[in-house]
């Protein structure tokens, strides 16, 4: 029996189980579940402390990762990269002048 509107294995009308909840957790957290299912899932976590904790800690897991700013890359790596690009840009307009840092030891691979 296929149900056109619902997702492949959407829970039945009556009850959302912990199993269902876990399966829908991603869409629930990303807020992409349809409103009817969302209401069922929200009801489930008010009644099921375990799923509430899983939901809460998964949300926090995502949020700590999102909160991490990338660190600056080492200056030497940045300089080397800029040098390579300037060198590569012998595309007519401007040839590389004395500004570029000397690039010795190229990338080791290849």
């Amino acid at each position: 029996m296929q149900n056109e509107a619902a997702h492949t294995q959407a829970p039945r009308k009556e009850m959302v189980t912990c199993h269902d909840f876990l399966r829908e957790l991603n869409d629930f957290l990303d807020e992409t579940t349809d409103p009817a299912l969302r209401a069922e899932l929200e009801k489930h976590i008010t009644e099921c402390p375990n799923c509430w904790v899983i939901c809460d800690t998964t949300r926090k897991t995502i949020s700590v990762y999102k909160g991490m700013e990338p660190q600056p890359i080492p200056q030497s790596i940045h300089q080397k990269l800029m040098g390579l690009i300037q060198k590569r840009c012998g595309c007519g307009s401007e040839s590389h002048s004395g500004e570029e840092p000397p690039v010795e030891g190229q990338a080791p691979s290849k």
């Binding site: 912990c18 199993h19 876990l22 399966r23 957790l25 991603n26 869409d27 957290l29 990303d30 807020e31 402390p49 375990n50 904790v53 899983i54 809460d56 800690t57 998964t58 926090k60 897991t61 995502i62 700590v64 990762y65 999102k66 909160g67 991490m68 990338p70 660190q71 600056p72 890359i73 790596i77 940045h78 080397k80 990269l81 800029m82 390579l84 690009i85 300037q86 590569r88 840009c89 595309c91 007519g92 307009s93 401007e94 990338a107 080791p108 691979s109």
Partner: protein, 214 residues
């Protein structure tokens, strides 16, 4: 939860602001391209390090990504975001490095994981309210990196793109050449595995651990 700001407005602003820069770079303007490098090099480097788990590889990936991007800017049509396009190059370069280093199958992104068992949930405990205040930035970074490193590449890569780099599900699928369904199921497993690991570290001490009825 309801009032979370959507990213889309911010993102489309960023695209339009960036377009002139990309256009100039396409005409061979190294200064403009340098600005794009300065803007994205941190994220590309971090992503490469997280995927390859190797500093030397990450540096190579960084260089090759920007060199390739510079050379192939003509083929960037501007239909996707510049950063998504850059990410695709960086991910491919990273995976190539990874495959070179480890010749085992776990690197394959096409591995069929749908047949594997259900995602596992063992640790059910609330966290301390503020792990960010209990640990220094460095400590946090180390904890989070270590947790990511312990994931298989197929889960790690999807998580990094979706939840660290904040690409959409569709963009992630596009970058990795996976179906939307595959991205979703991998992301769920990755999130739950990380949740498991972080809960062991961040859980409020002294709380009773609840059992999870299957």
């Amino acid at each position: 939860m309801e009032g979370e700001p959507t990213q889309s407005a911010v993102v489309s602003d960023a695209i339009s602001a960036e377009q002139p820069l990309v256009d100039r770079a396409r005409r061979g303007d190294a200064v403009a391209f340098g600005e794009l490098i300065s803007k994205y090099e941190r994220r590309v480097y971090r992503m490469a390090r997280q995927i390859t788990q190797n500093d030397e590889d990450a540096e190579d990936v960084l260089q090759e990504t920007f060199l390739k991007a510079f050379e192939h800017l003509d083929s960037f049509q501007g239909q996707s975001k510049f950063y998504t396009w850059l990410t695709r190059i960086a991910v491919n370069e990273s995976l190539m490095k990874l495959r070179k280093r480890k010749s085992d199958r776990t690197v394959s992104l096409d591995e069929n994981i749908e047949t594997e068992e259900e995602p596992i949930v063992r640790e059910i405990a609330v966290w301390d309210d503020t792990p960010e205040q209990k640990y220094s930035q460095e400590e946090m970074r180390e904890i989070l990196d270590k947790a990511i490193d312990s994931l298989k590449p197929i889960f790690r890569t999807v998580f990094i793109l979706r939840d660290v780099e904040e690409l959409s599900t569709e963009e992630t699928a596009e970058v990795l050449g996976l179906s939307i369904a595959a991205v979703k199921s991998r992301l769920l497993r990755a999130r739950l595995q990380l949740r498991e690991k972080l809960t062991r570290i961040f859980k409020r001490k002294g709380d009773q651990i609840l059992g999870y009825a299957k």
